[in-house]
């Protein structure tokens, strides 16, 4: 059947490693990350760009991976939740703050929330309350734990100068 697309090879970088993704061109980046690279930290919530559970960084920009066809990931540098902790295994200050301040409950929204927070602090190391709320506004939490999530981000920001909680700001 001539109208059936062939799988394509999409060279890109995921969490610092060069990979070639093999998929139908309009496969969602979300599915390819999960099923081919087994990076299942990236979650699917709504599948329509409303909930932010599938947030990843693409070339430093926060995106909903459910809305990115894999063909558009060619040459991109992608960071998922698995690539947020430092190379030595130490958790990112945002992750540490989520642990310390109860920012995670059931956990489904957590990877997206953390990506959104890490991305916000990379762009703006000293966000005010309104900017934090805006930075997290694309991420829904069904456990209604928004205040603890918000407080976790505030704490991560406050501790970003501490030796043990240094922010990694590079994308």
């Amino acid at each position: 059947m001539s109208d059936v697309a062939r799988k394509i090879s999409v060279p890109c970088e995921v969490n610092g490693e060069r990979v070639a993704l093999e998929a139908y061109p309009m496969a969602r980046l979300l599915d390819v990350l999960r099923e081919q690279l087994k990076l299942t930290g990236t979650k699917e919530g709504c599948g329509e760009g409303e909930c932010g559970a599938c947030s990843v960084e693409m070339d430093g920009a926060l995106v909903n991976s459910c809305l990115v066809p894999v063909a558009q990931a060619q040459g991109a540098k992608i960071r998922t939740i698995e690539g947020v902790a430092c190379g030595d295994g130490a958790l990112h200050s945002v992750q540490q703050a989520f642990l310390a301040y109860g920012g995670a409950q059931c956990g489904i929204c957590t990877p997206g929330m953390i990506l959104a927070a890490v991305n916000l602090l990379a762009r703006n190391p000293r966000p005010d309350d309104a900017q934090i709320r805006e930075g997290l506004s694309g991420n829904l939490c069904r456990c209604t734990g928004y205040m603890k999530i918000f407080e976790s981000v505030v704490e991560a920001m406050r501790h970003s100068g501490d030796a043990g909680l240094r922010l990694r700001t590079g994308a």
Binding site: A5, P25, G49, A61, V63, P69, A116, G138
Partner: protein, 287 residues
């Protein structure tokens, strides 16, 4: 039901010339695909009828914001994030920046584009009301030429527009003459982020000796297309922003718009909100 993925094609042209040649040689077969914030939603829902797309996301010819003495010209692939971060836009075209800031959330703003917002032709789109207030013009290119048209003439009906299958929106141009108009923007939706508008209202007025010497009023989500309320504008021109004219203008506005009941709101609610937003705009001019 989810889409059958092998049925969907996406190819990436090298440059604008190749893109235009392909849509000229096979008209209607290949359609441009930009940031995907609308099309991917349809794909996942199994409701994307078209099957072949050209990935234009990386076309340099459709990117960048240029300023001259008379215009700010935005590439069609300018994202909402880029609109928000642009200093001249923030200073001289605040309605567009407000619209960008209230579209989706950070992730949507990083991928959604002005050209996509225009070509998707939703009457609930957030940037078109601001673009219409600013008398935007759009540049449409094809393999056989270039044309500029006033954006006001672009949308002719629900999801209908002056764009042939062989054409692509390349740039959007805003004349730099709106300063120091008084400007007003308000999007009414279910919540501040991520909502599709129930009513969107963008307006500007030039004040001379306490009177509105010129006024522009544009609404989204109240008609089959984003609507410039020319009747109300005519009624207000030359008047003082006072209660006396307001009631008549509100009645005229309620007649000029044609909102519907749908999943987001009701016709009645939209008419009421449109009247109230007009009042808020007029009151903002009195100060």
């Amino acid at each position: 039901m989810r889409a059958f993925l092998p049925g969907y094609h996406m190819e990436t042209p090298r440059d604008l010339t190749e893109t235009l040649d392909r849509i000229a040689n096979e008209p209607g077969v290949w359609r441009p695909f930009a940031g995907g914030t609308d099309l991917m939603v349809l794909l996942e829902a199994g409701k994307l009828p078209h099957k072949k797309f050209l990935n234009i996301w990386n076309l340099r010819e459709l990117r960048g914001i240029e300023t001259s003495a008379d215009h700010v010209t935005l590439g069609a692939l300018t994202t909402y994030t880029q609109v928000r971060r642009h200093e001249i836009l923030a200073r001289e075209f605040p309605l567009l920046c407000r619209a960008a800031a209230e579209t989706g959330s950070v992730a949507t703003q990083n991928r959604g584009t002005l050209g996509g917002n225009i070509a998707n032709a939703s009457p609930a789109a957030d940037s078109p009301p601001a673009l219409l207030v600013y008398d935007a013009e759009i540049e449409i290119v094809s393999a056989s030429g270039v044309r500029w048209i006033p954006y006001q003439q672009f949308h002719s009906g629900y999801k209908q527009m002056d764009l042939r299958p062989s054409e692509l929106i390349r740039r959007i141009r805003l004349p730099r003459n709106n300063y120091p108009w008084k400007q007003y923007f308000r999007k009414v939706g279910t919540r501040r982020a991520q909502a599709i508008s129930k009513v969107c209202f963008a307006a500007a007025a030039r004040m001379d000796a306490g009177r509105m010497s010129d006024v522009r009023i544009v609404l989204g989500s109240v008609a089959p297309t984003v609507l410039r309320a020319v009747g109300v504008e005519g009624m207000l021109r030359g008047q003082k922003p006072e209660a006396a004219i307001l009631k008549a203008a509100q009645d005229a506005l309620a007649n000029e718009i044609a909102p519907i009941d749908d999943i987001r709101s009701t016709s009645h609610y939209r008419r009421t909100v449109a009247r109230n937003l007009l009042a808020e705009f007029i009151e903002s001019l009195a100060g």
